[in-house]
Symmetry: C2
Subunit: 324 residues, 2 copies
């Protein structure tokens, strides 16, 4: 597989849909390749409010990763962050299960303050990302309130309650995205999609990172239009060898009665997808995915370091331009 | 001067009016002597809002000092605090002149969150102080919004703008306490005053710590009633040898056209004061202060350490009970 890009791809804009650690890493690989020609549309459905602060964990994971300051071990927060504020909050008897680093806290403080002053989440995210030196354009999918509610065997749980507090242990029965009907894609995200030469669905959790993005109209309709117009819409599988590299994606597939495979991921996206990149470990699924009507490529999709991210990003773009 | 207390004084409650470093230190000395029988009424007129947080610098200086965690070098904040959040905020381009330590930030976060949830500043302050192990009852003078506005040769300045940002360099022309008309003493502060066996005006800045307390009705009227009823109302001079030990009190006296002396402090309070403790270095002013109708004592009022605070507190109480 050629790792170079066509002139058209380097000049044209790439839109990535990304959330979580895997999604953030591929987005960072794409940023290495195309810099400011990358627009990342991020998930806000796991945003939460804590101590009066508007916290956007998924958007921040992507932002910190794009800025090169993400904590790679935890998958959230800032590398080398400290815990003085948090420990003091705990000392005051405040809920201790959602940890906030001191530097991370500054992000939430400023975001909350700017939002209260009337700025949109798009404006706030742009300001924060620029200050951190992020080259790509990071955009929330919506400026409205959108919240993932997790239906479990223990009842409905707010996303962070399920994900962080309960460490995704309750059994998943379903998901709903509160506010999706009224949310609406932002004008900036819509404009980026309309100008896209390639769309990349990053290897993010299909249920809690990608699905809430697709719940925002007219995002899925727009992707179908792009595909129909011949714009490659390529997904990179977050499932490798039946496992999620990080997080509960495989567990969620199983709990929803489906085998956790690259094929199962591809099936969820056939409506608007044109290309699918799976891992070489899942090469046995190529024919089955191809049978869905997709152009399929296989590559080593494990992103252990900066170079790995660049390599997988290049593989996805090469597949999209028909060079795989 | 005897340093022991009468049985009546140890059993009865003491109310201290305190703000700033000197005030906080004497309050801590009083707390050493009478523990939970001390109520401290604190100043909220230099409260400010920053990044959406309700910050109560004067109340916190007293709270941290009573809790034994104050930063003694700076006179504000928590000893050994770190600056990760603040540096990140600065990195984001937020105003850098008002510094907030990481642990200190937790105080403001929780206070703001509780206030937004409908708690009064009295309830919040009680909760925070208890969590920090403060024995005394720390009460804001009012639950309402009260703000010191500084009239200077450069125009009107909000208190923190004048005090922190401009480091009290503009020339003082006057002060006003915005919201004082509507503020109103809290029921808790009123009850503490009504039960007081002794009232102590700590060696706090008369213009920006004590004056805003006295601007809240019916505090001065209550002090006059107490004095008339024979309850000692004793002030400790914040001016020693023509200087303020910390802060702009002496500079303020001079700019308002008055010599900065213990006598000048006593003159401001004659209306409701019965006793006045000045420093031995100012013993030459004893007769002049006595001529104001006050019972005067002299002691070494410098509080260099915990023992010094206890010593000055004992001197003030001894003077109040007529043992000086």
């Amino acid at each position: 597989m050629a790792l170079t890009l066509t002139d058209q791809q380097t000049a044209a804009s790439i839109v990535a849909l990304a959330g979580g650690v895997g999604g953030a890493r591929l987005a960072e690989g794409l940023q290495q390749l195309v810099g400011s020609r990358l627009t990342v549309i991020g998930n806000v459905a796991d945003d939460t409010e804590l101590w009066g602060l508007h916290i956007s964990p998924d958007l921040d994971t992507v932002m910190y990763t794009l800025a090169g300051i993400a904590n790679e071990e935890t998958g959230w927060g800032i590398a080398g962050d400290t815990w003085q504020s948090f420990e003091m909050l705990a000392h005051y008897g405040a809920e201790p299960w959602f940890r906030l680093g001191d530097r991370d806290l500054a992000t939430h403080l400023l975001r909350t303050d700017l939002l209260r002053s009337g700025a949109t989440l798009t404006e706030v995210t742009t300001r924060l990302a620029r200050a951190l030196g992020v080259q790509a354009h990071l955009l929330p999918v919506t400026n409205a309130t959108l919240r993932t509610i997790v239906l479990t065997n223990e009842g409905e749980l707010a996303f962070q309650e399920y994900f962080v507090h309960r460490r995704w242990q309750p059994r998943l029965l379903g998901l709903r995205f509160e506010g999706a009907d009224q949310a609406g894609l932002t004008p900036a995200a819509l404009a980026a999609l309309d100008a896209a030469a390639t769309v990349v669905l990053c290897p993010s959790n299909p249920f809690v990172s990608i699905a809430p993005l697709l719940a925002v109209e007219p995002l899925p309709a727009r992707l179908r239009v792009l595909k129909a117009a011949g714009v490659p819409v390529v997904a990179v599988s977050p499932i490798v060898g039946g496992q999620a590299l990080k997080g509960p994606a495989a567990k969620m597939f199983a709990e929803l009665g489906e085998e956790p495979t690259a094929l199962a991921v591809a099936r969820r996206y056939t409506d608007f997808l044109s290309h699918f990149l799976l891992d070489v470990r899942d090469a046995d699924q190529i024919d089955a995915v191809r049978a869905l009507g997709l152009v399929v490529g296989a590559a080593d999709t494990i992103m252990l370091d900066r170079e790995g991210r660049r390599r997988v990003a290049a593989a996805a773009l090469a597949l999209a331009r028909g060079a795989a």
